[in-house]
Symmetry: C2
């Protein structure tokens, strides 16, 4: 900036003002400054700016996995909502591990973000403390935590699955299995499984068809393997709810390989409304969690808090939508 100031014949302070598009710089001066900057190949230094102004244009975000369309959609929504303000997303992934999340949160807070968005509502005590003391807006997503740290944008994974169980029961199906959600690490997955168990019990049905699919992320292949085990051990199963659409699609392919009709012999449902659920033949019954809306709502909330339009902690509920498709008709 000192170099630019020299070339443009002004003080460094004026150069700074020109870049911040503050008022009190005349248009001619500003133009001269921006031209000089371009000529000199100057690139603004956000590091120094953030240090001096004690505020940053970062928003930190933690997600379990990069390679998951649902979370990617949430980040996409966030990114879109924050772009207008020139807020940049600092993304980290936890690999479905709350210990890794703790490390990651500390790393991210070192950058002094202006806000932090985390996936899920379960954290290590230390991570919780870090978030509480960070002095910035904290938003928990994809869950409805019992004791929120700050703001919440999410839904009850358990309640969403209950709706799916009720759907099958209305169709007269009673021997219903659940694939996945066995790993503690995936808290949303195990919440879905717990919701399945509770819903089955509420309907007075036997909960004897829980199939493990291993540690997250649960892929299509693991869904197929789990479905194979289910068919081998409990062939009289009528319907299968999978922890995600990916495993549901895997389960579907296993049926196709064995020549078992879906629907007909087995009804299958997933979770997440991934692209594949709509395109698969048969299309997959699923639950749309409005992943992108979670991101856009979180972004809007961040702007509201930063601008002082939002005072106390906000609770923005999402209502997942049951999508009945060919695989359960």
């Amino acid at each position: 900036m000192i170099d630019i100031a020299r070339v443009a014949g002004v003080s460094p302070m004026t150069v700074s003002r020109a870049f911040k598009s503050e008022g009190s710089v005349s248009e001619t001066t500003r133009a001269a400054i921006l031209q000089a900057a371009e000529d000199l190949g100057y690139v603004f230094d956000s590091t120094a700016s953030n240090l001096r102004s004690q505020r940053s244009d970062f928003v930190a975000v933690t997600i379990p996995s990069l390679n998951n369309a649902n979370f990617a959609d949430t980040v996409g929504g966030l990114s879109e909502g924050l772009k207008a303000r020139q807020l940049q997303i600092l993304l980290g992934y936890t690999n479905y591990d709350i210990l890794e999340e703790e490390r990651l949160i500390e790393q991210l807070l070192r950058r002094r973000p202006g806000a932090i968005v985390v996936t899920g509502g379960r954290h290590t005590p230390r991570a919780r403390r870090l978030l509480e003391n960070a002095g910035i807006p904290v938003i928990e997503t994809w869950d409805l935590p019992e004791a929120p740290i700050g703001h919440v944008v999410g839904f009850s994974n358990a309640a969403a699955v209950r709706g799916m169980v009720d759907h099958f029961v209305r169709q007269g199906l009673t021997r219903i299995a659940f694939i996945g959600g066995d790993a503690d690490r995936d808290t949303r997955g195990s919440d879905r499984r717990a919701g399945f168990v509770a819903a089955m019990q509420a309907q007075g049905l036997a909960v004897d068809r829980l199939i493990a699919a291993g540690p997250p992320p649960i892929s299509m292949r693991e869904g197929a393997t789990a479905m194979g085990r289910l068919i081998d051990t409990m062939p009289d199963t009528q319907a299968v709810i999978c922890v995600s659409d990916l495993s549901a699609f895997g389960a579907l392919t296993e049926c196709q390989r064995r020549g078992l009709a879906v629907p007909g012999r087995y009804s299958i449902a997933g979770f997440g409304d991934y692209d594949i659920a709509a395109v698969a033949v048969p299309s997959l019954t699923t639950i749309n969690p409005f992943s992108r809306a979670i991101g856009t709502k979180a972004a809007a909330l961040i702007l509201d808090v930063l601008d002082g339009r939002q005072d106390g902690p906000a609770l923005l509920p999402i209502t997942p939508e049951l999508l009945i498709r060919e695989s359960s008709r």
Copy 2:
């Protein structure tokens, strides 16, 4: 740090050393300092550290889309390779738009990253200039640019598709179509299409079955739509190469909905070796671009450059692998 220094009875400089795990701090002092820091709820300020030391622990990365398993794998590989060094990834996505890429690159360079990894080898002149003058290692990936800016980790998209065309020709198929790659914006997609055209001409075959799939990202649904158009207009087509596995799977589902055998009536191939290609029934012939290896190689290269083990610009070629599966047998 001043507060911690007071509590621990040392100077701020010693506190700084304790956090940098430099040698010359006695173990007792270090323990006292870390304890004091924990008690005070101190979180290290990377912003100030980066400003003063004039180096950062950021690596900037641009990818076309968050929601693409191939690029997510590359980022995953990068992330894994850089984690040991505490290097954090600063991710931005360009939405397949080189103008957006230019804006993004400038934004990212403002953070003074230690290196930058970009997807693709085609950039706006200004973006190119920014990268050349950034004074940090630049790595172009997923492509083999004619005039690389710095380092390259990639492969020729055109050459990879040539291998696929040759595979079909060896099977005696001659009426081969290509779906996608019509949008300039997706440079890798259009390179694949150009490779298809060149390979067909080299084989002396007619290039009269190019089906547009619209602007990227090309989804499963668009693959299905394009396949529908192909079947309607040129039903005597024998084989279809799609710009990615997602569109290939979409094409497959369109055949299934119409009761047309794959393989048999139509052979189908994709690109990218996405999970779905292996799991689909029939499994999809595809090309494995070793997405994750691109990331791990780029990460290793960055460390080599930063440590002075790599002098000139490196060219690390990737050799994509043709995977013949059920959809083309």
